[in-house]
């Protein structure tokens, strides 16, 4: 049994939050540079130039890329042969989140659903985070983090299609979600699509799909082809950077299916999670 110290997890999480909210990930930077080169609309190119300049300033000054420093989202894989000493893993992630948001001068964005009062004073800075735990073989703790903003989350959608809708039905649904969203979620976008499992699982997978680095192909050749096809079709919508009209609306489409593409014989669950151009995500292994 490998022992990991509570404080080490807290520090890793804190540092990861501060770094990833101020330094645009290399995959995003490269994708945005490519979009800038390929964009045909003058006004959208001007917007993309601002986005690229913003990344340079944020990195130099360690200033948040976007003022919406999001909800803290975690996908955590816990090895069966690892033990946390000095507290629980959940508490360590909470404390790392609190310290990261407070010490990094990040915005606390969690509030009570009904009163809309900021939760800062009740349970701490930008707490609670959203955590998906998974138990896996081994003695490592694997943590994926994303700061997910509200603008792009608000236009995300989930549905359950009839099985007869098939791949074409899925594509139509994805197109409708991106088209209806228009300028609101801060395009150019990364589009996460979750297919199969159950209603809730498809939504979780659509979020996890956003963590994949842009440029890494889908290991399933059929899904890889579907991703490329969808990207091309979504870019024909004409939405452009910040919705001002243009040819580069989508940087990537990432699809995840449940194990062995499983779903119920009567159902075809599909979820689309939209990610803005300020995709702040990081991966640490402890």
């Amino acid at each position: 049994m490998r022992v990991v110290k509570f404080d080490d997890i807290v520090k890793s999480v804190r540092d990861t939050i501060i770094y990833s909210t101020t330094h645009l990930a290399p995959d995003m930077l490269e994708a945005l540079k490519k979009a800038y080169e390929e964009e045909k609309s003058e006004v959208s190119r001007a917007v993309l130039a601002q986005i690229l300049e913003n990344a340079v300033i944020a990195e130099k000054e360690w200033k948040p890329l976007c003022q919406d420093t999001g909800l803290a989202i975690y996908f955590v894989k816990v090895g069966e042969d690892v033990k946390v000493e000095g507290g629980t893993l959940r508490e360590a992630i909470y404390e790392g989140t609190r310290r990261g948001y407070e010490e990094g001068y990040l915005r606390a964005s969690t509030c009570d659903c009904f009163t809309r009062a900021n939760l800062k004073d009740k349970v701490g800075y930008n707490l609670p985070p959203i955590i998906y735990f998974d138990i896996v073989p081994g003695d490592k703790i694997d943590i994926e983090f994303a700061a997910k903003g509200g603008g792009s989350e608000n236009v995300s959608r989930a549905t359950v299609l009839a099985p007869a809708a098939g791949k074409e039905g899925i594509k139509e649904f994805v197109k409708k979600v991106v088209s209806d969203a228009g300028p609101n979620p801060c395009p150019p976008l990364v589009v996460g699509v979750g297919i199969g499992g159950s209603f809730d699982m498809s939504a979780v997978m659509s979020k996890h799909a956003l963590f994949r680095n842009i440029g890494t192909p889908n290991p399933d050749p059929e899904l890889d082809a579907m991703e490329k096809e969808l990207k091309e079709e979504l870019n024909k919508l004409g939405i452009g950077a910040m919705g001002m009209g243009g040819t580069e609306t989508v940087l990537a489409v990432h699809i995840e299916t449940y194990e062995n593409r499983m779903c119920h014989i009567a159902s075809l669950p599909v979820a689309v999670n939209i990610q803005c151009h300020s995709s702040r995500h990081a991966h640490i292994t402890i």
């Binding site: 006004v43 300049e53 913003n54 944020a58 003022q67 606390a108 609101n184 004409g238 919705g243 001002m244």
Partner: protein
Amino acid sequence: MAEYKLTTPLTDEDVEKLKAGDIVYLSGVMYTARDAAHKRIVDLILNGEEPPFDLKGAVIYYVGPTPPKPGEPIGSAGPTTSYRMDPYAPILIEHGLKGMIGKGKRNQAVKESCKKHKAVYFGATGGAAALIAKAIKKAEIIAYPELGPEAVRRIEVEDFPVVVINDVYGNDLYEEGRKLWEQK
């Protein structure tokens, strides 16, 4: 696509020359307000009381900035999605508001109000929050400090970069720009 430099407060003549798609660099004094602050300001107006700042020719920036680091006037400060302010905007425009800065679509009532009372909706680049913060030279909270990031701030800006989305002629860049590039 023309480029203009304008100084607040804005006049009818200022906004009449702007067309959807134009790039504008704004300087002068602006005010920040979003969801909760809008509700409070509109409630004051409807009760016949004075709003916390003079609306005549004013520009409101929809933003909830990050906390400033020591020695800085403001943290990162990009625009938030504007549709949440749609229920309040027409009343403010009627009382003299000339400009709104945010991101995303506005409803028909806001667009009509812009036409009728000569006001403009500007889009700022969402997420470009570190870049935009550079244009904000001073910031002070003038109302509702208890709202935290949503408090009303008086900000002094220099060459704050925006694009005209809805002009006084009823044009909408989101609709027209998209039509121009859509491939059927």
